[in-house]
């Protein structure tokens, strides 16, 4: 009986292979090959272009460890990732809750559309729109001064808050979507049962709803934290001089300095650090979830 089941599942895998093949081919061509090339580059002295002479080296990696600059940038980026993730939780979770548990029918669809709208707009357009809102004499500045009786100067452009605002706006839909899915799966009768037992709304949130939506929070956090740590577009455009982060430095290596080997090495260090963080966090998160 057991043997039958085992062969059954093995033949199941074999018959599934043709279905998996396109995905694997695509992954191999589109991700694995370039990535291997990058690993290769990261150990080279020069790009093997235009007949330049090159050799294998570990210098690109040692640069990171020998120069405090990169460490500091990496820490700043990790902090940025953490802050943006936290803001996304603060903004996204209540929004997801309202969408999943308060609104019904038409109004839910409408609000849902508004939430995922940033997904559908071009990233650059989004960022430059924020630039118009946040700069001195921009929309926010003008609007506030038109309403308020005293003169204030709002110039958030080229500042750390501007970077945060831009990134949170770009990434908050992930948090809303993942949390919405887990919140929606929570049966309303659980909430009613809790309240009939005397629990206040706040107690229900703390004891039942947040624990049950933890998987969504964790998934959202991972989806946001990782790309934000490596982000470069928002920091560069909205952050200006203050917007130098680990991601922008990597970008510089590729598009400005043309030091691909260093850029590649810095990328892999980031990847390793992020993986270590996720690995360290996973037991804690698993227990919470």
């Amino acid at each position: 009986m057991a043997g039958q089941v085992a062969t059954g599942s093995r033949s199941g895998l074999r018959s599934a292979l043709p279905l998996l093949l396109p995905a694997y081919l695509w992954l191999t061509v589109a991700i694995f090959l370039p990535l291997s090339a990058m690993v290769f580059f990261s150990f080279m002295t020069e790009l093997p272009l235009a007949g330049k002479v090159w050799a294998f080296t570990l210098d690109n990696y040692t640069t990171f460890f020998s120069q405090g600059l990169y460490w500091r940038l990496l820490l700043a980026s990790l902090r940025l990732g953490l802050e943006v993730t936290l803001w996304c939780v603060v903004i996204g979770y209540p929004a997801a809750y309202v969408l999943a548990k308060v609104l019904k029918g038409r109004s839910r669809e409408a609000i849902f559309l508004l939430v995922i709208l940033p997904f559908w707009s071009n990233g650059l357009v989004r960022i430059f729109s924020w630039a118009m809102v946040l700069r001195e004499g921009g929309i926010l500045d003008t609007a506030l001064n038109a309403v308020l009786p005293f003169k204030i100067n709002i110039d958030l452009m080229y500042s750390y808050p501007a970077v945060i605002i831009g990134l949170v706006h770009s990434y908050v839909p992930y948090m809303v979507l993942t949390c919405y899915l887990t919140l929606q799966a929570i049966d309303d009768s659980l909430i009613e049962a809790g309240r009939s037992l005397g629990a206040s709304r706040l107690q229900m949130l703390k004891r039942v709803i947040i624990p049950l939506s933890m998987p969504g929070l964790v998934a959202g956090a991972a989806l946001i934290f990782v790309p934000v740590v490596g982000s470069f577009m928002e920091p560069r455009i909205l952050g200006g001089r203050t917007g130098t982060f680990y991601g922008t430095v990597i970008e510089d290596q590729f598009v400005a300095v043309f030091n691909w080997p260093l850029g590649a090495a810095l990328s892999f260090i980031l990847l390793a650090v992020v993986l270590v963080i996720l690995a360290l966090a996973s037991p804690v998160l698993k227990r919470a979830a």
Binding site: D187, S189, L190, E192, A193, G194, R195, S196, L197, G198, A199, S200, Q203, R207, V208, P211, L212
Partner: protein, 354 residues
């Protein structure tokens, strides 16, 4: 513990009246079944009493205290849901402890109360399990333990046994009844299983289209239904329709049927008579006849043998009558045979046709 009084309660969803002027007095410590077809407003009524939903008009009092504007968490009710609604992120013991712990009871008190409640539902050893590791019947017991551990004033159950199979259902019915007696809690039980309502409850309320059709003890409703609907919804009934003679009815073909129970009506109005299938005697000939008995002749069209009893379907004047006969080993009647049906006027209930 407390009784519940519901008076002139109405609740509409849009143009649809889910509850229409319902008044019921749920006695302190009683076991009350709300029975009715799907969509009749049973759940809606229960939710008004629980406080999940609020009535458009009418009054609800628990233990004499008016609660219409009191939110759920302040009403001190226990609720058991059809789908159990156990918290999946907590162990069985934590589920049961929930109501006590949100009230900030001391840890030691909680532990002993939880153990007591789990023992009461015979799950004393399963406290550390998760809900998904339990069977359906066990989950329902946990839900019950969780609802009663806080010593609520009223226990509300919305088709709590609906998801269980027949055998388990009967076990749980007995179990639930035992626990209810033991703690003496006022219990309101929604079901659409008439047998469950008959066997478990002290009183039954029958709802239809948001209105209370009839209310009373199981015997009262079964023996003297006040409407054709009540007669056919709770148990089986043969219904005869005709013109009333004051003490019975006259069928369109002129046959008179005498009724010894039910309404007293002015002669000439349209009315019906209800007779339970097990009250009718069936025989091949009229034999020795009680002069007062109602007598009808017909022909057996079908017989269903069910071990301890048989059901005969008898055709007469374009009507099919149902007769249930205990299996005494006496002569059985064949399909197609001409028969005489006899029953006493006391077994006949006169019902006004609305």
């Amino acid at each position: 513990m407390a009784g519940v009084q519901v008076s002139s309660l109405s609740r509409s969803f849009g143009a649809h009246k889910a509850l229409d002027d319902v008044s019921i007095d749920f006695a302190d410590g009683g076991f009350y079944a709300l029975l009715g077809p799907s969509g009749s407003g049973k759940t809606t009524l229960l939710r008004q009493i629980a406080g999940f939903d609020f009535p458009d008009s009418g009054r609800i009092a628990i233990g004499g205290e008016s609660v219409e504007r009191v939110p759920v968490e302040k009403r001190r009710i226990g609720m058991v849901f059809q789908n159990y609604a156990l918290f999946p992120n907590m162990s069985v013991a934590d589920n049961v402890a929930f109501g006590l712990s949100v009230r900030g009871e001391a840890k030691a008190t909680i532990a002993s109360e939880v153990q007591r409640a789990l023992d009461l539902v015979q799950l004393g050893k399963l406290g550390s399990r998760r809900p998904h590791q339990l069977s359906g019947g066990q989950r329902q017991r946990v839900a019950l333990a969780r609802a009663i551990v806080t010593k609520p004033r009223v226990l509300l159950l919305d088709e709590p046994l609906g998801a269980l199979d027949k055998a388990l259902r009967v076990d749980m019915q007995i179990e639930l009844k035992r626990i209810q007696r033991e703690i003496g809690i006022t219990t309101i039980f929604v079901t659409h299983d008439q047998e469950e309502a008959l066997t478990m409850s002290d009183r039954i309320g029958i709802l239809r289209d948001g209105r209370l059709v009839q209310e009373g003890s199981p015997e009262e409703i079964y023996d003297s239904p006040k409407s054709e609907f009540a007669a056919t919804f709770l148990g089986d009934a043969n219904i005869f329709r005709g013109e009333t003679t004051g003490t019975g009815i006259r069928l369109p073909d002129g046959t008179a049927i005498a009724a010894g129970a039910g309404a007293t009506l002015a002669a000439g109005a349209k009315a019906s008579c209800a007779v339970r299938p097990e009250r009718i005697r069936i025989a091949a000939d009229s034999g020795m006849s009680d002069p007062n008995a109602n007598i009808l002749r017909g022909q057996v069209s079908k017989r269903i043998f069910a071990g301890n009893n048989s059901t005969y379907f008898v055709e007469r004047d374009r009507q099919t009558l149902k007769v249930i006969v205990q299996n005494t080993g006496a002569d059985r009647l064949a399909e197609g045979q001409d028969v005489v049906l006899r029953w006493s006027p006391e077994s006949t209930v006169l019902i006004a046709t609305s």
